[in-house]
């Protein structure tokens, strides 16, 4: 198993671990994330049909609707959110859901920003751990890395 360590920027600090779900395509959570199940439901998105609950979701940023934050907040409350989100362009929509979840429910999910070149090193199925300081440990089972969809 390969181990890779990346230094990200902790936007919402926290530690988390889980299997990675990675796409270069941005996602709107409204119309794209079913907070009752944690499934990605944007039928145009490469991750459509996969469950992000309990995973480390890596997408560049949130596109589309302003309601993305509300959907992520519902998912955090319902326990169907990803364990952490890794992004490239820092995203206000995701960060806000964590800030409000802290205010309302004293809980949040970590949000870590990485460079685009580091983002390209992530792959669906990797085991990922993030820590308070934005350090991302990637344990990969597959040395050959096909392009991210």
């Amino acid at each position: 198993m390969d181990k890779l360590t990346l230094q990200g920027k902790p936007i919402i600090a926290g530690s988390a671990s889980g299997l990675a779900l990675v796409s270069r395509e941005p996602l709107s959570f409204w119309g794209g994330y079913d907070w009752k199940t944690g499934e990605i439901i944007d039928r145009r998105h490469p991750l459509s049909g996969l469950i992000a609950k309990g995973k480390i979701l890596a997408i560049p940023f949130a596109r589309g609707s302003s309601t993305t934050t509300a959907v992520l907040l519902e998912a955090i409350r319902a326990g169907t959110a990803p364990n952490a989100i890794i992004i490239t362009a820092t995203d206000f929509f995701f960060a806000l859901a964590s800030v409000v979840a802290t205010e309302m429910y004293s809980t949040s999910i970590p949000l870590v920003a990485v460079s685009e070149s580091d983002f390209a090193k992530l792959q669906t199925g990797d085991q990922i751990e993030t820590d308070e300081h934005g350090v991302i440990s990637v344990f990969s089972h597959t040395p050959a890395r096909p392009p991210i969809p």
């Binding site: 230094q7 990200g8 920027k9 936007i11 919402i12 941005p26 709107s28 409204w30 119309g31 794209g32 907070w35 439901i41 944007d42 039928r43 145009r44 560049p60 940023f61 949130a62 596109r63 589309g64 609707s65 302003s66 309601t67 993305t68 934050t69 509300a70 959907v71 907040l73 519902e74 955090i76 409350r77 319902a78 490239t88 362009a89 820092t90 995203d91 206000f92 929509f93 960060a95 806000l96 859901a97 800030v99 409000v100 205010e103 309302m104 920003a113 990485v114 460079s115 934005g134």
Partner: protein
């Protein structure tokens, strides 16, 4: 916000702490709770987010539009009621976006009773804060339309892009839950599209050999917008080479499309939008990061992407995302005058109470009623579980409906022009006039 290349936020400077946010005495007083517990809660969220975003200070806003009214589930409702119970009041004129139901006519649709009760509680919570119950996603077509240069905090992606691009008002791309915090406090982070330097175009889209007849057609704008969103992602696109001056509803359709397929909060059209009198002013005298030539082939592909079925089956035509304007009611009336929709097909227009009242006074609704159409206000098919399960195949002239219906509603959808939608409703199957798209 924090678009790629923003100088205020350097992703690679990992060791740098957040730039310190400097707050005024009044900001501090709000944070301490001197202005009441609701203002304290709103200000703590606002200050925390401003800090996370790297803003150096807050600025005064003079208007807000609240997208948080859209009912999603218990968390959003608990947030609204927490603020309302703490006595929250907005401090600037504040309009409300669509809610989860047509307040007075939801029983005519498939909205479950318990869902309706929750959505109504959320409506009441936001109304109790001293807001203006516009219940529309097109607040820019009400009397609360902002003016050029006005600093505002708006939610609702289509409203944001319209305010910035078409009016020249200034808002960041604010999400639900943040818009109301800004409205209560009367402040927003001084960053992003609030600041002149960040309003420059980044991406140049040059139109090549696009027939003017097509540019006059209403279905051209959602298609172009869908393409712009996919191509621009989070950058500000600048369109050069349009041969016609689009009307306001065409710009509205374009904006809603690019804010659905991308994270576009502002666009420029050279010679059309107020901060793009010239190409140079659109780019603030800088060079585009990238230039793309837009061809008919690209637009045909974009148009194909908005349709999700090969079937001609049609159960319902849906118009009005963003909410139908008075001008759109006026354009629809002669198309359906003296005609009747097919008995098997439903025909729905979603709009605001204000526009519907004006359309009624102008006499546009009589033709609609005679045609067999239905009208819903306060909400739309995407934010209310109003469509019965047997409705499976939709047709629309809205790229936003086309974009979100498959994921949100699990429905098949065909995109067409307003004329296509009317013709299809009469024939009872999805038909499209391809003549403008084939040449």
């Amino acid at each position: 916000m924090w678009r790629r290349g923003d100088s205020q936020w350097n992703l690679f400077d990992i060791e740098t702490k957040h730039m310190s946010l400097s707050l005024t005495d009044k900001d501090h007083a709000m944070l301490r709770g001197d202005h009441g517990p609701a203002t304290k809660m709103a200000m703590s969220i606002l200050a925390r987010m401003a800090e996370v975003a790297g803003a150096q200070e807050l600025l005064d806003i003079t208007g807000a539009h609240i997208d948080s009214t859209v009912y999603i589930g218990d968390a959003g409702l608990e947030f609204a009621e927490r603020l309302a119970n703490l006595g929250a009041k907005v401090s600037v004129p504040t309009t409300l976006n669509v809610s989860g139901l047509d307040e007075h006519h939801w029983q005519e649709w498939a909205v479950p009773n318990d869902w309706a009760r929750q959505a109504q509680r959320q409506m009441m919570a936001y109304q109790s804060m001293g807001t203006i119950p516009t219940w529309t996603c097109a607040p820019y077509q009400t009397e609360m339309r902002p003016s050029f240069g006005q600093q505002i905090a708006w939610g609702e992606s289509n409203a944001i892009v319209f305010a910035n691009s078409v009016i020249g008002a200034r808002t960041e791309r604010y999400p639900d839950l943040f818009d109301i915090c800004c409205a209560i406090v009367g402040r927003a982070p001084a960053m992003g599209l609030h600041l002149t330097a960040n309003r420059a175009g980044k991406l140049l889209l040059q139109m090549k050999d696009i027939p003017e007849a097509l540019q006059h057609s209403d279905d051209f704008y959602p298609v172009l917008g869908h393409f712009m969103g996919k191509t621009s992602l989070d950058r500000i696109p600048v369109v050069e080479g349009l041969g016609v001056i689009p009307n306001e509803d065409q710009l509205k359709a374009l904006g809603a499309a690019c804010a659905s397929s991308g994270a576009v909060a502002m666009f420029h059209i050279v010679g059309v939008t107020p901060e793009a009198r010239t190409l140079e002013s659109a780019f603030q005298n800088k060079q585009p990061e990238e230039t793309i030539t837009v061809t008919m082939d690209m637009l045909r592909q974009s148009r194909r992407e908005l349709t999700h079925t090969d079937s001609e089956r049609l159960d319902m035509v849906v118009l009005g995302s963003p909410h139908f304007s008075l001008a759109e009611f006026k354009a629809l009336a002669p198309l359906i005058q003296g005609k009747r929709k097919h008995s098997r097909v439903k025909f729905l227009v979603t709009s605001s109470r204000a526009m519907t009242l004006l359309a009624k006074q102008a006499g546009y609704l009589e033709a609609l009623e005679a045609f067999g159409a239905q009208l819903t206000v306060d909400t739309c098919i995407l934010t209310s579980p109003m469509l019965p399960a047997e409705i499976k195949y939709l047709m629309t002239n809205s790229a936003k409906f086309a974009y979100y219906s498959p994921g949100l509603l699990g429905k098949q959808i065909t995109f067409g022009s307003l004329k296509d939608c009317v013709a299809s409703a009469i024939e009872g199957k999805a038909l499209r006039d391809e003549s403008l798209w084939t040449n």
